[in-house]
Amino acid sequence: MALQSPSLDIGGAVLVKPTPTSAGRGYWQSVGRRLRRDPVTLVCAAILILLVLASMASPWLGMADPYKTSMLRRLYPLGSPNHWLGTDELGRDMFARLIYGGRLSLFMGVTPVVFALMIGGSLGILAGFVGGKTNMAIMRVMDVFYAFPSVLLAISLSGAMGAGTENTLLSLTLVFIPPICRVSESVTTQVRGFDFVDAAKASGASAFTIVRVHVLGNVLGPILVYATSLISVAIILAAGLSFLGLGVKPPEPEWGLMLNTLRQAIYVNPVLAALPGVMIFITSICFNLMSDGLRAAMDVKA
């Protein structure tokens, strides 16, 4: 911090000149600049983008048909001609199924988190900003959901509603609302305690305007980072539900379901049986590392 001009006579004529700073202009520009200097986050983001693009474009990539079975070429090992990642227990091409499987798995990972972010985030910001009895009501309801371990909650919800993609999405959304709500509530409560929110209240602005201008910008970063870290959990939970037969139904390619159906092959060809797990692992660790990188880049005082 630089001292200002020593003159005590500041009647509007003497203007204090700003101290030169190296910091750039916009907040998001500086976040972008810090992200660009973070190779781990960049690599993870690149892998994820590649996965998403590949799975979205899978029908046009000229791969084998992921649904085409063959009794003759079952459980080919890795590196087989024409099937370089082998074939599964029904003779379907593993590479094609893994790429195709990304569609459902990524969709099942991202969608519930997005919905939970909208619902849980709004509830949490509401609870945090209004406080008092509203906070009490919202947060105690969330505590009820918290009483169940998330896997158990997802299983029981999916079990009650029946298998299928929509029900899996619904149950995963419900599972993720409480943690996102809790994080949103705590950061909002923290931000609400800052004097600039009081100053905004003192300016006579409406609560909605205060939340929009002063609260949202300060809480969205941490909430988004947390939500990003949940995507990997969602992928694993969705895979788990499929594994238990509560999620996606066969013959759809989905990583969790593939793990399930390949489990008999674990004694015959363990590497092959682990491949869907490797995909889940890569995706979730990329999401986790990326959310860590985002968190670091969004730290204002860094």
Partner: protein, 344 residues
Amino acid sequence: MDTLLPIQDRGGPAQPLLLATGLRKHFPVAGGLLGRTTKVVRAVDDLTLSVAKGETLGVVGESGCGKSTVARLLIRLLKPDKGTMVLDGDPVDEPHGITVNELRRQVQMVFQDSYASLNPRLTIAETLAFAPRAHGLPAAEARERVRDLLTKVGLDPASYSTRYPHELSGGQRQRVNIARALALRPRLIILDEAVSALDKSVEAQVLNMLVDLKTELDLTYVFISHDLNVVQYLSDRVLVMYLGKIVELGPVEAIYGNPQHPYTRALLSARPSMDPRKRTHEAPIQGDPPNPIDPPSGCRFRTRCPFAEDVCARVEPPLADTKFQAVACHMRVAGSGHSKAMAA
């Protein structure tokens, strides 16, 4: 919109700008089974004060005596449990009076923590334009006002508008905070320890700026501080608080030159002197203030007062007028029963 023009004086110079009567704020302390409220912190208890037009009212007292609660009550960031406020003849938040939002147009506040009171995500221009925009000022006019405000507080608009709070020094940030308080063209500004966190040299600059702004914009200040020298420099009248109560209130010369309450005397004598020949003669007050959850009966200062007698524990001393100032002490009330009081 006409709401953003300076507000005209209504009641004439003799009518107090702000009159607060019997303000009380108790904070419940959750405790016991199921978070039932078992105790209350008596932060401000039946406080009555008036702020005359154009004056600077200094508020002093130890940490925790309720100074900041008073500030937040006056701008209604806290709702008082009891008591009324009248702004230039208009009752606040009452059927025939003005709304809290109208009060906040005319009364603004500068906070102590210059960093926490600025939104780190907004540029200085966005922060300053927020209140005028929220009151419906068009964007172009708001920009013009931001330039004007920055110039008023001695910051060059061209180079500061696009900056973020973390790019500014403490003194510059506090200037921005003062500019924000001026944005709605208020009549009364509450300065809650507004210069306490600044370096001495920067503090002097900001204080001088405040003095200049006051004359230029015809402002009234409530200046809250624990720094007795700064309050003496700036104030016309001084209010001394102890545990949520007023113990002494009067013109700055009377309070500093002839303090009547033992607490005021102890505070003033605890001031370090620059002159080694002027040593502290009166015994300094001992210990910490009592817990405001359970304040002493009668006079709240009696537990630390060297002159405390039976009557001080039994009867709460009223804030009584003396020759120059108002004092809440049995020793200054004729016939109160205190041995040092004059006979009735």
